[in-house]
Symmetry: C2
Subunit: 131 residues, 2 copies
């Protein structure tokens, strides 16, 4: 299976992550569709729609400061108007902590633009058991 | 945003989960495409391709016994040949433990069939902090 570091979605995701790592969630909001849905390890239920996601992100604005990050082995599965970008992710926070994540981003074409319609972030192997 | 409990993908997922909960991972393998990719909380990196996923699943065969489970608020975003099914999930194991999950399944049409091309399972709010 080919790894596609050069797919345009990797660049789009990288730009949103750069802003995210500087405490600015607007990069993600600007590329999200109205019907975006969202999972991360800190919410009790899926977040549905850009208004709800915007409220969630606003509470995080200015709280996240990444020293550096890495999109690991990005893969794009593109068919018709949709594409799935998956990758592992590593980031080092200003506190020195290093975090590892799994990420699935689903994008949909709207004219010449890609818009995020589903975002799922989870911790890589946080140490829980399968049972 | 409408919740689509009756979409055919919810039934497909439910059937695969019923077999999974009886220790049989073949239900998922039978609906997976050759290029399926996979994340769960127990793997260190994304699993790429049905052969690698099959090896991973075989090691789990017979080890999982769910008393019951529930697909919570399934939502399908379908565009062209692809569809994203997202839901929260609750299951009670034979041990009595109750687990909650976030799930994103991406399906692609192949002729008259749907095939899973991306599967991402993570624990709902496992209690880690945002920083």
């Amino acid at each position: 299976m080919s790894i596609q570091k050069t797919h345009e979605l990797v660049a789009i995701e990288h730009r949103a992550l750069e802003r995210w790592g500087q405490g600015d969630p607007s990069g993600y909001l600007e590329i999200s569709a109205p019907d975006v849905v969202y999972f991360d390890p800190f919410v009790d239920y899926r977040i549905d729609g850009i208004e709800a996601l915007g409220r969630y992100y606003e509470a995080l604005r200015g709280t996240i400061h990444a020293e550096n990050f890495e999109i690991i082995d990005p893969l794009v599965q593109e068919h018709g108007v949709m594409a799935v970008l998956t990758f592992n992710f590593r980031c080092r926070l200003a506190s020195g902590a290093e975090l590892r994540w799994n990420c699935t981003e689903v994008y949909r074409r709207q004219g010449a633009e890609w818009r995020l319609i589903q975002s799922h972030w989870s911790r890589t192997n946080p140490g829980s058991s399968a049972q």
